[in-house]
Amino acid sequence: MVADGVISVVDDDEAARESIMGLLGALGFASAGFRDAAALLASADLRRTSCVIADFRLPGMSGLALCAHLAECAPAIPTILVTAHPEELTRHRALRAGVRCYLQKPLDPDLLLACLGSVSRNRTGGPE
């Protein structure tokens, strides 16, 4: 279950990061915040991370590259990409790369919940 672990939020915009973490808190999830992919990958929280919500445009390693990297981890960590400027092409690329959901900012709480739910179902039914 997602709720078992921590949801890591990766966004270089501090205000955006805090708002997403605030919403996750209100939805009943524990979360940790990181300003870029490197910070998350170096963090001890990575092992407890059940799901990553990453901004598409990140300094350094992009959200998409982070997703690909996390998919190769054992166990694989599912990623939700968020962006302020959604594009059809990017959505296709993201979903092909294994991103679970591609959501637009500001986040729709119900969509986010549904997304987290599907991530959780997939994860519990997964190979682990």
């Binding site: 915009d13 805090e18 919403l23 209100a26 445009r57 500001p106 986040l107 709480p109």
Partner: protein
């Protein structure tokens, strides 16, 4: 940069309105000095007769006629653009001069021997006097009409009127002179020598030339004015050569050199108009191209900028909505969690301020009066901004040093924009130091006066520093390595600084961080 972009295309009036520059004045003076030298050199041999030169006269007259007629056409074309009465008067003068040179040559003794028309002894001299006294009158009219407002409505009627009037007067008067040879003043004693009566004409002409010169020189000379002054001076030299140096003797050395002066005089205006027209076309083509380029740049910049503004405003707005959603959910819980809701509201307030800062900086850049310049004390501005950021510095654990040069010269600028530049640079430094841990977070603001008349301001930080790979990218509107704040801040700073005639650049701070420096010219230079 597009902020200071002003291209002037409407310069079609240049030749008759733009003030003559130094190099043109120098050229004019050199030409006249050369003619004076010629005059002095010719003086000793001026009275030597050159026999058998009559056949040259028709060619001379034809050359004068053609060049003056082309001048008329160019002046009338210029009138068509500018509708200035003065230009019309000058065109009339050249028309008059060109039309009267023909009967003058036809009636010249022994040039067309055997012609029944105008072989009276006084005819040629009378036409010459008429022509010589007539032309400066048109120049006087030009000088007096310069300040008149332009003609309204169609240009064709005034042009037709001038052509008809001048042609009528010139042909009518020369016709009368030819017919009424008997009643004319006795200018000539024989075919080559003038009588005492003739010597009334040169002084009268000189008085007219002097009046023309006086009127023209009354105020700063336009290009056309300048060369008209030269024309009058060459005519004066011609007159001196013809009437005084060669004492009225026709077809002598002095007389022919004088005539050459006359030909030069007739072609000066033509050459000036042709040269000015050609260079005007070149300039026009260049400025049209520059304008087109500028417009394209502006459109691109506007597109990039509006996208960038949209992005900058959307980020905090998205956060505000998400925070509000979180707050609503905290309040909907049973029992409501007002502490969490309050935290969410606090974040909304912060994000709202951030969005409003974005709007404010855009406003500072684009509102009316953004081009206004007043004397600005940069030291005072820096101190103001540093003070305003005090709580920010404290919260972020940043220590601040200022090293401002006392008696720093003022710069000319827009205070609101320069204030915003300082804010953005400090924002930038604060953001760069936020992720830094394990070393001192120090922001240092310095101002210096440089020997080359520039004031230089630097904001140093000990932050993450510049990635050499990014280079100039940091000044692009979409460039992001910053966790927070104004993504287009540095681009804005560079636009403003460059619009103020300065430069903005980034360099590495030793051992850590970055230095952003801008230079602005001292106010004293431009007064």
């Amino acid at each position: 940069m597009w902020l200071g972009h002003t291209v002037k295309v409407d310069r079609a009036e240049r030749v008759s309105t733009e003030t003559a520059d130094r190099s043109q004045v120098r050229r004019a003076v050199l030409l006249l000095a050369g003619l004076l030298v010629v005059l002095l050199m010719v003086a000793p041999i001026a009275r030597q007769p050159l026999s058998g030169t009559e056949p040259l006269l028709p060619a001379y007259a034809a050359a004068i006629f053609v060049s003056e007629m082309v001048t008329v056409a160019l002046l009338l074309a210029l009138f068509g653009v500018q509708r200035s009465w003065a230009l019309l008067a000058l065109a009339g003068g050249y028309l008059f001069s060109g039309l009267t040179v023909i009967p003058w040559a036809f009636t010249f003794p022994d040039v067309f021997p055997g012609w029944a028309v105008g072989d009276g002894l006084q005819t040629t001299a009378s036409i010459a006097a008429f022509r010589r006294l007539g032309f400066p009158l048109f120049v006087l009219a030009y000088a007096l009409l310069r300040d008149r407002p332009p003609v309204h409505g169609s240009a064709s009627w005034p042009i037709a009127g001038v052509i008809a009037g001048v042609t009528g007067v010139a042909l009518g008067a020369t016709g009368l002179i030819i017919v009424g040879d008997d009643v004319l003043p006795r200018f000539m004693t024989d075919k080559r020598n003038v009588a005492a009566v003739w010597f009334v004409v040169p002084p009268a002409t000189i008085v007219l030339y002097a009046c023309g010169l006086g009127l023209l020189l009354r105020r700063p000379l336009s290009v056309l004015d300048l060369w008209l002054v030269v024309v009058l001076c060459t005519l004066l030299i011609e007159l001196v050569l013809l009437s005084y140096v060669s004492a009225g003797l026709r077809l002598g050395v002095g007389w022919w050199v004088g005539r050459a002066c006359g030909l030069l005089s007739a072609t000066i205006m033509l050459l000036v108009l042709l040269l000015e027209t050609t260079s005007l076309y070149a300039r026009l083509a260049r400025s049209v191209a520059a304008e087109r380029r500028g417009r394209n740049n502006r459109i691109t910049t506007m597109e990039v900028l509006s996208a960038s503004i949209a992005h900058e405003v959307k980020q905090p707005l998205a956060s505000m909505v998400t925070n509000a959603d979180a707050g609503l959910r905290w309040l909907a819980k049973e029992p409501p969690r007002s502490d969490e809701a309050k935290a969410a509201l606090g974040r909304i307030v912060r994000d709202g301020h951030r969005a409003s800062r974005v709007i404010e900086s855009v406003r500072a850049m684009y509102t009316k009066g953004s081009q206004e310049r007043v004397a600005v004390d940069l030291n005072a501005r820096i101190e103001e901004v540093v003070e305003a950021y005090e709580s920010e510095f404290r919260l972020s654990g940043i220590s601040v040093e200022t090293d401002l040069e006392p008696m720093l010269p003022l710069v000319l600028g827009n205070p609101a924009q320069l204030h915003q530049v300082a804010c953005n640079l400090i924002d930038n430094a604060v953001e760069a130091m936020r992720p830094v841990a394990g070393r001192r977070r120090l922001l240092r603001a310095t101002s210096r006066r440089r020997s080359d008349g520039e004031v230089v301001v630097s904001i140093e930080d000990t932050g993450t520093g510049l990635d050499p790979a990014h280079g100039e990218d940091i000044f692009e509107p979409f460039f992001t390595t910053k966790p927070d704040g104004m993504g287009m801040g540095l681009m804005f700073c560079r636009s403003v600084v460059e619009a103020h005639g300065g430069r903005l650049w980034a360099s590495a701070n030793i051992p850590h961080g970055a230095v952003l420096t801008f230079s602005l010219p001292e106010a004293g230079e431009e007064g």
